[in-house]
């Protein structure tokens, strides 16, 4: 019989080993799934994890990596504060949409005025604000009525999607678009375009924002009282109350941070890679970022690495779809598996396994 025994201290080694082991197990089991689908497993794994960086088309896919990783990292950093404090915002997708809509609305309102120095910064602020407002709803309801923030934030994703559809079809529809749904292309409007900063690098303003967020979050968690309060509230809520942490304020701030960053990610996406508001310009970054946050152990540097890895599975998945005909859903499954295996091996950080008799 195997039994679990609580370690007196969390294991430092396993904190680092667990995500790596989870990735390895996911590759093995994922390879098995690919084999079941009749695809060569090793080749599929290589196409997903190796080719985007070193393969024949790497010069095309490497910039893509950063373009995909940017929003994932930005959103996951925001989520990590709440997750650490036991505040579960799982509606980042909705905040992402609302940030994008607010930013797009701001940009389109000025069209065709040429004033990048004014319009682009305003759009960034609108992105922050849109996401924040959307996250403030579950925060307010949780504090005022004790309403479960998990369910409210998630319900608001569906509401945001409906608003998005309405915007694409009505208010923000491109008047010169021959009646097709979708807004003007913001990435082709010089005052609103989220430009690539270094040619063919994939580095746009959103990627810079993500890196800034990583550094900032690292500093807050390691050195600032707020970071300490967040960790304390997550580990022992009562002890946090005793230490003087205002639970309501913490909920509010954590949700606003995650909303703001998700909204900003939406802004950078709608003005850059996506280009315009359409019925379905959102591609689920808000949900994938949850996996990124956990895979990165809610640690800023971990999230940076996990975001890149998850971006790799997106790009590699697309490659595998093209070259091997691997279904897109298989990649989604793959990402879900990664989170599963991480949670499974995570037990090793706090417990050790003992062989032998049980009580």
């Amino acid at each position: 019989m195997l039994t679990l025994e609580k370690r007196p201290q969390p294991s430092k080694a396993w904190v680092y080993a667990a995500p790596i082991l989870a990735v390895v197990i996911t590759m093995i089991v994922g390879g098995g799934v690919f084999a079941l689908l009749g695809k060569p497993p090793l080749e599929a794994i290589r196409t997903i994890f190796y080719d985007p960086i070193f393969g024949d088309f790497a010069s095309y896919s490497r910039p893509q990596l950063l373009i995909k990783a940017g929003p994932l990292i930005l959103i996951a950093i925001g989520l990590s504060f709440g997750f650490r404090a036991g505040i579960w915002n799982i509606g980042a997708e909705g905040q992402y949409i609302m940030g994008a809509l607010a930013a797009a609305g701001t940009g389109l309102a000025f069209y065709p005025m040429e004033a990048r120095w004014l319009i682009f910064p305003l759009m960034i602020l609108a992105g922050f604000a849109g996401g924040m407002v959307w996250a403030a709803i579950p925060a307010f309801l949780r504090i005022r009525f004790k309403t479960n923030e998990i369910l409210v934030s998630l319900m608001l994703v569906y509401v945001a999607e409906a608003i998005q559809a309405s915007m694409a079809l009505n208010l923000m529809r491109n008047p010169d678009g021959h009646g097709f749904p979708g807004s003007r292309n913001l990435s082709q409007y010089p005052s609103s375009a989220n430009l690539e900063l270094v040619a063919n690098s994939g580095v746009h303003w959103g990627v810079m924002a993500a890196l800034t967020a990583v550094i900032f979050a690292y500093f807050i968690l390691a050195r600032h009282r707020f970071g300490f309060d967040v960790r304390l509230a997550g580990q022992s809520p009562r002890a946090a109350g005793f230490a003087g942490v205002d639970a309501g304020r913490l909920i509010f701030v954590c949700l606003l941070i995650s909303g703001a960053l998700a909204g900003a990610a939406g802004m950078f996406e709608v003005s850059g890679p996506a280009g315009r508001v359409s019925i379905d310009f959102n591609v689920g970054y808000g949900f994938t970022a949850i996996i990124v946050a956990f895979l990165g152990r809610l640690h800023p540097v971990g999230i940076l690495i996990a975001g890149l890895l998850m971006a790799l599975t997106y790009i590699g998945g697309e490659l595998a779809q093209l070259s091997l005909g691997l279904p897109g859903a298989a990649i989604q499954l793959f990402q879900g598996m990664l989170l599963f295996f991480l949670l499974a091996v995570d037990v090793m950080t706090s417990y050790r396994i003992r062989f032998g008799k049980t009580e």
Binding site: N148, A329, A330
Partner: protein, 304 residues
């Protein structure tokens, strides 16, 4: 706009149909939560049930076999959750989310090649005599069998929790797992059974969407029904009959907005479509006073 096109009898009858997937899934989750486990993976289990049920029905031609397969699919997926949370002591919130993401991916993968196919019809039963009663007959007694299974499940859940010894033990485990352990009850075994039951119910709920309500397969077709089921469990303060009220309330809003869309009301379709979700939030705000089971969501590890 033509409100006269809305037939109140048909509206109420379709309300019962719209509420059924939620009732099935929520009844299962209620048992899971009364056992002290918070499984946020209802959406993932529902969508898995939706596709396994759909595949089995299309393959065998029998919706009944489909529902059995759906229950098995949902329960199978839930056992992953059970293994992680009960043996590997993982965080229930994170694991539930993972289950949903995993279920969405798995169902999309399984469902390749089933897009756009129509499921064989699941016949309605007109209960003899009483279905002929004017007004009440068509509303209450002229549905497919799963509608009654759903109501029966609620009644069964209520009886089980209130009157049976096993239900008492289940409640005790959910209320205080340390005490239940000290009295010699097998906390983990009981919870695993509850989780599997919840998974089976969620699977049935999902299959009801793909086999009866729509009835065909599209990716992500549960569209948040699992989350609404979770919300309704909170709304119901963990009591079965109130679950039924919550589900009918939700079903009512859904059916009404669909009818209003059809009637061509001046409100844009997109805003009508968001109404069930907003209604759910409102309901949660109004009803967050109930007392959750004492050990809900807490990790149990029998130490010395």
């Amino acid at each position: 706009m033509d409100f006269s096109s809305i037939n109140p009898i048909l509206l109420l009858a379709s309300l019962m149909v719209a509420a059924t997937p939620i009732i099935l899934a929520a009844a299962g989750e209620l048992i899971v939560e009364r056992a002290g486990v918070l499984n946020l993976g209802v959406e993932g289990m529902m969508i898995t049930g939706a596709i396994t049920g759909f595949i089995a029905t299309v393959t065998t031609g029998s919706p009944w076999i489909g529902f059995v397969a759906a229950a098995a699919g949902g329960a199978g997926l839930s056992l992953l959750f059970a293994f992680l949370t009960q043996f590997l002591l993982s965080n229930q919130v994170a694991t539930g989310l993972a289950l949903t993401l995993f279920g969405l991916g798995l169902s999309a993968l399984l469902g390749q090649g089933y897009n756009g196919i129509k499921a064989p019809e699941f016949p309605r039963i007109d209960i003899p005599v009483i279905s002929d009663i004017p007004v009440l007959g068509p509303i209450l007694f002229s549905h497919d069998p799963m509608v009654y299974v759903g109501i029966g499940l609620i009644a069964g859940t209520w009886y089980f929790l209130k009157y049976s010894r096993a239900g008492l033990i289940l409640r005790a485990v959910g209320e205080n797992h340390e005490a239940a352990h000290a009295l010699g009850y097998h906390v983990i075994r009981i919870r695993i059974m509850a989780i599997a039951f919840g998974g089976a119910c969620a699977g049935l709920g999902g299959a009801y969407i793909s086999l009866v309500r729509v009835p065909q397969w599209t990716d992500g077709m549960t569209a948040g029904a699992g989350w609404i089921a979770l919300a309704i469990v909170v709304f119901a303060s963990w009591r079965p009959w109130r679950l039924l009220i919550g589900a009918y309330l939700f079903g009512g809003v859904t059916v009404l907005q669909l009818n209003l869309q059809a009637a061509g009301i001046a409100i844009p379709v997109e805003y009508l479509a968001m109404s069930p979700y907003i209604a759910t939030i409102l309901v949660l705000v109004l009803m967050s006073a109930g007392r959750a089971p004492g050990s809900l969501g807490k990790i149990f590890h029998a130490s010395r």
